[in-house]
């Protein structure tokens, strides 16, 4: 099997390491435009082929991973499709939040978007056990201490920010559980604390099926050591589910905790672990049939919601 990876930043390195950990027979080709980094990589990975760009690559790859900054996703995707690559994985958010229209190019059945939190065992439990039609509201939250000082380059621009970089994960989880990305913004507020874009974001939305969606994202929360996400799902009968990485708590209509499903009860094993079972499960799915992975419609759905929130927020400031 031959795999091409565009970009060898943190995500490129993570996916490469897991894939190689899962199957050491894979032939890797990596495109890394940074000359110094490429030279460093060439010295240290003798089994991997490195290129400055893809201009000399004509043979189709079994799998291509696009893990570059989002503003060049689409250009690389076109090249990959034209080359005939069999399966293409694009890191989230797919092409950035401005990419909301379904290009004919995206009709490729084997195009997937990297929303890794879907693979969390608690999320899989929710997907299998919560009846979508009975959901009244969902609150989604993501807290981290990702930024300690002002980021440089594109990470301090409109393609970055808490909504694009981490909020998109929670939005994907909500659309994954609800089965719809059709929602309108009721209110939105963003704050820049360290970066020049959104570091804290709050929004209220309503789906076409009248489900209320509340979002709170903060990636400059100093008290948080490791990133944490949570979902609070209120059902029409008053039952409430609270989910995070570790557990699902179930409350009855008078707020009494009636059940608890711990990740220790539902967690699965993986043949190679790097940074969370979710990441390995995602790469296993990519090597297999991509049954859980977000597809192109899911990716565009998240982008549409992000764009609506940012537009609403901008308009309300004017």
């Amino acid at each position: 099997m031959n795999i091409l990876i565009y970009g060898f930043g943190r995500m490129g390195l993570t996916h490469f390491t897991i894939l190689n950990g899962l199957n050491s027979e894979i032939d890797f080709t990596i495109i890394e435009p940074n000359k110094f980094l490429r030279s460093l990589l060439k010295t240290n990975f003798d089994k991997v082929t490195f290129y400055k760009d893809d201009s000399s690559l004509t043979k189709a790859f079994d799998i291509t991973l696009i893990t570059t900054p989002p503003f060049i996703h689409l250009e690389l995707l076109k090249t990959s499709i034209n080359r005939g690559d069999k399966k293409i994985f694009v890191e989230k958010p797919f092409g950035g939040y401005t990419n909301t229209t379904k290009d004919p190019l995206f009709s490729s059945k084997n195009l997937y978007i990297g929303y890794v939190l879907r693979y969390n065992p608690c999320i899989q439990w929710a997907k299998s056990n919560i009846l979508t039609k009975d959901i009244l509201s969902i609150k989604g939250q993501f807290l981290s201490n990702t930024l300690e000082k002002k980021p440089v380059g594109w990470r301090n621009g409109p393609f970055s920010g808490v909504l694009n970089e981490v909020g998109s994960h929670v939005i994907d989880l909500i659309q994954y559980i609800l089965g719809t990305s059709s929602m309108d913004v009721q209110s939105a507020n963003k704050q820049s604390v360290i970066s020049d874009v959104d570091d804290i974001l709050d929004a209220e939305l309503k789906t076409d099926t009248n489900v209320t969606v509340s979002l709170h994202f903060n990636w400059v929360k100093k008290e948080v050591r490791k990133p944490v996400f949570s979902l609070e799902i209120l059902m029409k009968d008053g039952t409430k589910y609270f989910l995070d990485q570790q557990q699902v708590l179930i409350y009855n209509d008078i707020g009494k905790n009636i059940d608890k499903i711990s990740v220790t009860d539902i967690s699965e094993s993986v043949p190679f672990y790097l940074r969370g079972i979710d990441f390995t499960k995602q790469m296993e799915d990519l090597l297999d049939d991509c049954s859980v992975m977000a597809n192109v419609n899911d990716g565009l759905g998240v982008n549409k919601i992000i764009k609506k929130i940012l537009n609403y927020e901008d308009n309300s400031r004017r």
Binding site: G9, R10, F16, G21, F36, L37, L40, R155, V270, L274
Partner: protein, 279 residues
């Protein structure tokens, strides 16, 4: 089996209950409180303590003179610091940080080789220079954190793990490796020349529930029974707090292990766990 106090409670780490972890962190909001907790725990008879090289751990080892002969198990690096660095300024910022923060002579001796050859094997001694306080008692253990060990395993750079072991030994310390992939690590250790391998401790998850035990509980149990020629340390023995403690300890005691490490924020739990492990 030696019993070591873990450090997760000091830094608000609770894999099972994130809010509880944050509350616990507040309980240890000064170096004195952490030092007292460690000394009180050791007074029960524990064999040593583990501490990470984050800001608090580094200061604790730099500023505290632990008088007892108990073992210090020091783990490097603090992965979140480097992850944040990469998030903010990209991959190469890591290299710049290492060069900038290494001592002048170490940079002359080793940093120049790194820049000339671009071989990341020279990062190993530089990282040790940055992360290990000069007054860490000789003979202490220095561990490579699992995120780095497992990254190197996945990348196919087991040779760098061996370099780490040999560099730590040369510094007058004993090497340790934390991993969540003990079987893959064992393969590397069996296929490379490792000096003083009997000094090495490999620390990995094992618990009765099989929670986060990779690739599977039965495979890791067989690995323990195979008794490799290095020491074995069990971590996550209470399945991140989800398990019944007496039965978890009972399970661990039946395994042929050299060390066990556990963390708790309550001294009475340190004492009771220690007693259960020693019955």
């Amino acid at each position: 089996m030696k019993i070591i106090l873990g450090d997760n409670q000091f830094f608000g780490v609770n894999h099972f209950d994130l809010n509880k972890g944050e509350k616990t962190k507040l309980k240890f909001d000064s170096l004195n409180k952490i030092e007292d907790f460690i000394n009180d725990s050791l007074s029960f008879g524990l064999d040593g303590f583990m501490i990470n090289s984050n800001n608090i751990g580094y200061k604790l080892i730099s500023q505290t003179d632990f008088k007892s002969n108990k073992e210090i198990h020091y783990s490097i690096p603090y992965p979140h610091k480097y992850a944040n660095m990469i998030n903010e300024s990209g991959m190469l910022s890591l290299l710049k940080y290492v060069i900038k923060n290494t001592s002048f002579w170490k940079n002359i001796l080793v940093g120049s080789k790194l820049l000339l050859t671009r071989n990341v094997k020279y990062l190993v001694p530089l990282s040790l220079d940055i992360e290990v306080p000069s007054n860490l008692k000789k003979g202490s253990y220095i561990y490579m954190q699992n995120i780095i060990t497992d990254l190197l395993i996945g990348m196919g750079r087991g040779d760098l793990i061996v370099d780490f072991i040999n560099s730590v030994s040369k510094m007058g310390y004993k090497p340790g490796l934390i991993t969540l992939n003990p079987i893959k690590l064992d393969y590397i250790l069996n296929h490379n020349k490792v000096s003083k391998i009997s000094d090495l401790i490999v620390c990995f998850n094992i618990n009765k529930q099989g929670f986060n035990v990779f690739p599977s509980l039965s495979v890791v149990e067989s690995f323990i029974n195979s008794r490799p020629n290095y020491k074995l340390m069990a971590m996550s023995i209470f399945a991140s707090g989800a398990a019944d403690i007496p039965s978890s300890i009972d399970y661990i005691k039946k395994l042929n292990l050299d060390y066990v490490v556990f963390g708790t924020s309550k001294l009475r739990n340190v004492k009771s766990n220690f007693e259960l492990l020693n019955v």
